[in-house]
Amino acid sequence: MTVTEMAPATQPVLPAEELPSTTKADQPTAGSPLIEDELLVEEISIDGMCGVY
């Protein structure tokens, strides 16, 4: 398996459908550019923070 280089840090957060099932976000509708980048709701597992047991 080869290492893949990620895009630079300016990439926006990936939309919900590309993330594993523990995250969920506001789903933009096709053809609504006004709200396409809005992620008003994001869900992270309570286990998903580095620095705890």
């Binding site: 290492v3 523990t22 309570i46 286990d47 998903g48 923070m49 705890v52």
Partner: protein, 382 residues
């Protein structure tokens, strides 16, 4: 409208932690070779029951959502159940880590009856042959008995937490099956060179090939918890692993030790990363909000030597504990950088890097220094 990534906002810190780790005691009936808090003997200055309930009151006022209680072996404290019950009564949820040796059927039923209490059983191998050299003879069997008792008591989805090492990296599927067998969830976390972990890190840390396998396993099994401890493996994939992919230390989480000292996280229980003490006049909240250490961590960090690397956005330079205890600069690559920059940095630093002369912490006297693996059992104290 959110203008920036959530992780970037959280990196600036919040007015209260989201959750935190609280080690109840340094006392432990085991002597795991990689113990991040070098536990064994109780400290004579550990927080009293009154001090602990006062701290719980403060956490409640700050709306800390839950605490990860650990140690040492936290259930060894005589006031353990009292403190857990009190936390829950004050809307502070609890997840406690235990080696399972104290899990009688009665205690399992007692915990199963409590709301907002979760349990994490520590286990580091899919069989005694891989687990016991790390955690001690009989510890695999004891953990499984605890799991059986929790399942029998109808506890529900407790956690089985595994520190990934060279010895168990090939057993993750088996460990997932073991967790599922008892109705539990598997959690895997990163071995850091912290506490006694510094002494075994070079021998126990997974190989680069194993880390690729771990990443593949986590990608296949989105249901496996990680405590966000593998975000440094992010560049191995097309998308990030689940979690904030952010070092939360001093920003959204921290550690409170058994004597009330506050550290950035459990993996940096070292004076360099001590923020203060809950015994100071402002209590925990003053330390969280105003300590110099945490204020510094909440400043935007430059990538330093990593700035030129296209993968920095995915790995964020990795883990500060891993860098600190291997003698690497905090603004450079993680020793386990998947692109190999860490290996090069370690080599350039002229040696295997693990900090020498670490204090024994609260380890039991007479415990022999762990010897190299190579198929031999570790010498045991007494």
């Amino acid at each position: 409208m959110p203008a920036e990534r959530l992780a970037d906002e959280l990196a600036r810190g919040l007015d209260a932690p989201i959750c935190l780790t609280w080690e109840f005691t340094y006392g432990c009936n085991l002597s795991c070779v990689h113990c991040l808090s070098s536990s064994g003997l109780r400290d004579p200055e550990e927080l009293s029951t009154a001090e602990a309930t006062g701290l719980i009151d403060e956490l409640s006022e700050m709306q800390v959502f839950y605490v990860n209680i650990g140690g040492g072996e936290p259930t060894l404290r005589p006031d353990f159940t009292e403190l857990v019950s009190y936390a829950v009564s004050r809307q502070v949820g609890v997840k406690f880590s235990t080696n399972g040796t104290t899990m009688t059927p009665a205690r399992a039923r007692c915990f199963a009856a409590m709301d907002y209490v979760d349990i994490q059983i520590s286990l580091d191998g899919a069989s005694p042959a891989s687990n016991d050299p790390v955690r001690g003879e009989g510890t695999y069997a004891a953990a499984v008995v605890a799991m059986e008792r929790l399942a029998e008591a109808g506890f529900g989805r407790f956690k089985v937490s595994v520190v990934v090492t060279r010895r168990n990296a090939g057993e993750l599927d088996e460990m997932l099956a073991l967790a599922v067998r008892f109705g539990a969830e598997l959690r895997v976390t990163r071995l850091r060179p912290s506490g006694r972990g510094a002494l075994v890190w070079n021998e126990l840390r997974p190989t680069a090939d194993q880390l690729r396998d771990v990443h593949a396993f986590l990608t296949r099994h989105g249901e496996v918890l990680t405590g966000d401890s593998f975000f440094h493996l992010g560049p191995l994939g097309d998308q990030p692993l689940a979690g904030l992919n952010l070092c939360g230390a001093g920003r959204v989480v921290c550690l409170i030790d058994p004597v009330g000292d506050v550290y950035a996280c459990p993996f940096v229980m070292h004076p360099e990363f001590k923020a203060g003490s809950v015994r100071e006049s402002g209590g925990f909240s003053a330390v969280w909000r105003a300590s110099e250490l945490f204020s510094g961590l909440r400043q935007p960090a430059t990538g330093g030597a990593c700035n030129a690397c296209g993968s920095f956005g995915a790995c964020h330079g990795g883990c500060m504990a891993a860098k600190f205890f291997t003698g690497l600069p905090l603004d450079g690559p993680d020793p386990e950088c998947v692109l190999g920059h860490g290996e090069r940095a370690l080599a350039a630093a002229g040696g295997r890097g693990v900090a020498a002369g670490l204090s024994p912490g609260h380890a039991k006297p007479g415990r022999p220094v762990p010897v190299a693996f190579g198929g031999r059992r570790l010498a045991r104290a007494r």
